[in-house]
């Protein structure tokens, strides 16, 4: 019995060591969204193209993506081509022009193409706060019952879309 007690520190070390080792290499910036499996917060935003107010009823009825972007955001210009490709595949994307200048946004969409089914303006970032956004780009998957099922912080690419596809129904 006494002899076994001697091994307790080694055991504790082994357990802690393996726990710490498993945490290595994880994305330290990863933060789960508080919105997952919750209905989309209420939307009441101005549409860039029509100048009318869009509410939850005006959003696509099937599954769609919500993409936060801004002309000030360098990663958004990297992401843009991929979003164009997605929209050509028929994926509806609601763009939230996040804390941006509207005139700059119009220019950006004219120059690079418009992948969005709606472009909604969130100049002050209030809707961003309601969605728990920490910056741009961020992309949410909303399913056909209007529930937020997935959030990705950063650029959407092939790898990310593979994961998102699983939620896109």
């Amino acid at each position: 019995m006494k002899k076994l007690l001697v091994f307790i520190p080694l055991l504790v070390f082994a357990v802690l060591g393996s726990i710490f080792f498993m945490q290595l290499g994880k994305d330290t910036q990863y933060m789960p969204s508080a919105l997952i499996d919750k209905p989309l917060p209420s939307v009441s935003l101005v549409d860039l193209h029509t100048n009318g107010i869009v509410t939850n009823d005006g959003l696509p009825s099937g599954p769609y993506l919500i993409n936060f972007w801004g002309t000030w955001c360098p990663a958004c210009s990297i992401e843009h081509n991929y979003l164009m490709a997605l929209s050509e595949q028929g994926v509806p994307i609601v763009g939230i022009d996040y804390k941006d200048e509207t005139s700059e946004a119009i220019k950006w969409l004219q120059e690079r193409g418009d992948p969005y089914s709606h472009v909604l303006l969130d100049e002050l970032g209030n809707f961003g706060v309601n969605m728990g956004v920490t910056g741009a780009p961020e992309t949410f998957v909303v399913n056909s019952s209007g529930v937020v099922v997935y959030r990705h912080q950063g650029v959407v690419d092939d790898v990310v879309w593979e994961t998102m596809k699983g939620y896109f129904k």
Binding site: A34, G128, V133, T134, G135
Partner: protein, 137 residues
């Protein structure tokens, strides 16, 4: 030496400039101001994760500070403000974690470890005494 003095001076002036920028906020009462300062100390910036809202200059931290300011101005309670943040950013934003089943070990783990330590301490002392008695006999 001269350089370090120079940097000290710069540091001094830069902090006063910062506090002046923050003092533009006008509060209804000094209680509201204390509450505001306590909340931005206690809530974590979701973008720059090792800073609280008070320390961070990230865009989202500025937005959230403004949000807290206006919520205090509207007369919302501390609990309502914290709940608002948790609903949007998760329990992650609490530097003072909630006391629930998921955080049980976080809150009481150290006490449990301390209890184990005390137990081991008492047991060792006892067995030492026993062996001492045997020797003296």
């Amino acid at each position: 030496m001269r350089y370090s003095l120079f940097f000290c001076l710069i540091a001094l002036f830069s902090t006063t400039a910062f506090s002046e920028a923050e003092s533009i906020l006008k509060f209804n009462s000094s209680i509201d101001e204390t509450r505001y300062n306590a909340l931005i100390e206690e809530l974590r910036c979701p973008k720059c994760q090792n800073q609280n809202l008070a320390d961070s200059n990230a865009g989202i931290a500025v937005d959230l500070r403004n949000q807290i300011y206006s919520m205090i101005d509207q007369g919302l309670s501390d609990k309502e403000i914290v709940d608002y943040m948790v609903a949007r950013y998760g329990e992650f934003v609490l530097y003072k974690p909630a006391n629930n089943a998921g955080t049980f070990l976080l809150w009481y783990g150290p006490l449990i470890l301390l209890a184990f330590g005390l137990l081991a301490f008492v047991l060792i002392i006892r067995s030492n005494r026993k062996s001492l008695r045997k020797e003296t006999k």
